[in-house]
């Protein structure tokens, strides 16, 4: 993507002003995937000068600033395991030092590993003007918010883990899967190759085949839907056999 101009606001109010007053403005998070898109934009709003890179926690939740990089998530010692695992093979360290969690979320990238982890955790997104919205609703609907994501709230869980299958280390995932067990158990599947979704109506007596039966997997150049489904089933079986979730 080419920008005619890039501004670096020093407050959220200023950033929002730019967004509200320019029809063709694009917010830049890490900017890495934006770069690969063949588009022109009048104005880029770079959030890197705002204090949006942080990891905070209280008793029940983690609060992650939207400009926190994937590398900071990877080396965090407090975040849920599935988040840490999900980012480990997203490109190399150089890439993860640039890519932000907010950019990954707002891009709604279907190949995203971190979005699948966030979905399994029941994350909530906090926008500057419109307030909170669940990750599930945000990914499931196609509207454009025209707002600035400021932070992501992740409930603390007892156990979580993430799996993905890649042709090579650091490549895009062919399919990914994340499981979190807190007040209840949530399973999310992504890179199907469609966007990440939550597995509905989980019955703890079901096998991985039964659990994933209603999830749609499709063909693309990287692999067939049937192949993706089989890998997802194997990954979920592996997690279920660890037996940590259902007791």
């Amino acid at each position: 993507m080419n920008f005619k101009e890039i501004v670096q606001p020093s407050s959220l109010e200023e950033a929002y002003e730019y967004l509200a007053n320019h029809q063709k403005a694009v917010i830049i998070g890490g900017g890495v995937f934006l770069k690969l898109q063949k588009r022109e934009a009048e104005l880029g709003i770079d959030l890197s000068r705002l204090p949006l890179s942080y990891l905070k926690e209280d008793e029940k939740e983690h609060h992650i600033g939207s400009m926190t990089t994937l590398r900071e998530i990877e080396i965090s010692s407090i975040l849920p395991q599935c988040m840490v695992e999900s980012v480990r093979q997203i490109g190399g360290v150089g890439l993860r030092n640039m890519v932000t969690i907010g950019g990954s979320v707002c891009g709604k990238y279907p190949f995203s590993d971190i979005n699948t982890a966030l979905l399994s955790l029941g994350a909530r997104l906090v926008f500057f003007k419109k307030g909170e919205i669940s990750m599930e609703r945000f990914l499931g609907e196609n509207y454009v918010l025209n707002d600035i994501l400021t932070s992501i709230v992740v409930p603390k869980v007892e156990y979580s883990t993430c799996r993905y299958f890649k042709h090579t280390y650091t490549d895009f995932s062919l399919v990914n899967l994340s499981v979190a067990s807190g007040e209840n158990v949530r399973i999310a599947v992504g890179a199907r190759p469609g966007r990440s979704v939550v597995v509905p109506d989980i019955n703890t007596g079901h096998t991985s085949e039964e659990l994933l039966a209603r999830i749609e997997f499709k063909d693309d150049i990287r692999g067939s839907g049937a192949y993706r489904r089989h890998i997802a089933e194997v990954m979920l079986t592996e997690i279920l056999e660890e037996g940590l979730l259902w007791k």
Partner: protein
């Protein structure tokens, strides 16, 4: 637009486009160690350090680097020479195109890692490709170099 950057401890006044990437800015400024390999943040040829963090300069907006310390392989000649000695001693160096990026990744890795097992080194360097070799020689060289350091 005109900006000031700190490149290898030197202040430089440079003329850039608003959406220019650091790779292009550095090459225009005469820093030719940074290479455009894939241009999609996959290969690591353009790896540099910005405020002691490894980044791919092909996708790092130049305006983001204002006020930060930019370090390329030209800024660490002694360290780069030592690493090169170890890599050539293993016979791992062939075309040399990936070497400046790899040296910068090794440079930041020394600060970033606590555990220098081969596994964690391989994980850290997974974003720096070499298309000539099979990495074995580089890994031997890096392990020996880290012992000396």
């Amino acid at each position: 637009m005109e900006i000031m950057l700190t490149i290898n401890n030197q202040k430089r006044r440079l003329l850039i486009d608003p959406d220019e990437f650091l790779l292009d800015t550095l090459r225009k400024a005469g820093i030719k160690s940074v290479k455009r390999g894939c241009d999609t943040t996959s290969c690591g040829m353009c790896s540099i350090s910005v405020d002691n963090k490894l980044v791919n300069s092909c996708s790092y907006y130049t305006i983001r680097a204002i006020g930060k310390e930019i370090l390329t392989v030209e800024g660490i000649p002694e360290e780069a020479g030592l690493i090169a000695d170890f890599i050539t001693a293993e016979g791992a160096e062939q075309c040399g195109f990936c070497s400046p990026g790899l040296v910068m990744a090794i440079h930041t890795m020394k600060n970033d890692l606590d555990d220098f097992s081969l596994e964690s080194i391989k994980h850290y360097l997974a974003g720096n490709f070499c298309r000539c070799s099979g990495y074995e020689g580089q890994h031997r060289a890096i392990l020996k170099y880290l012992e000396v350091k």
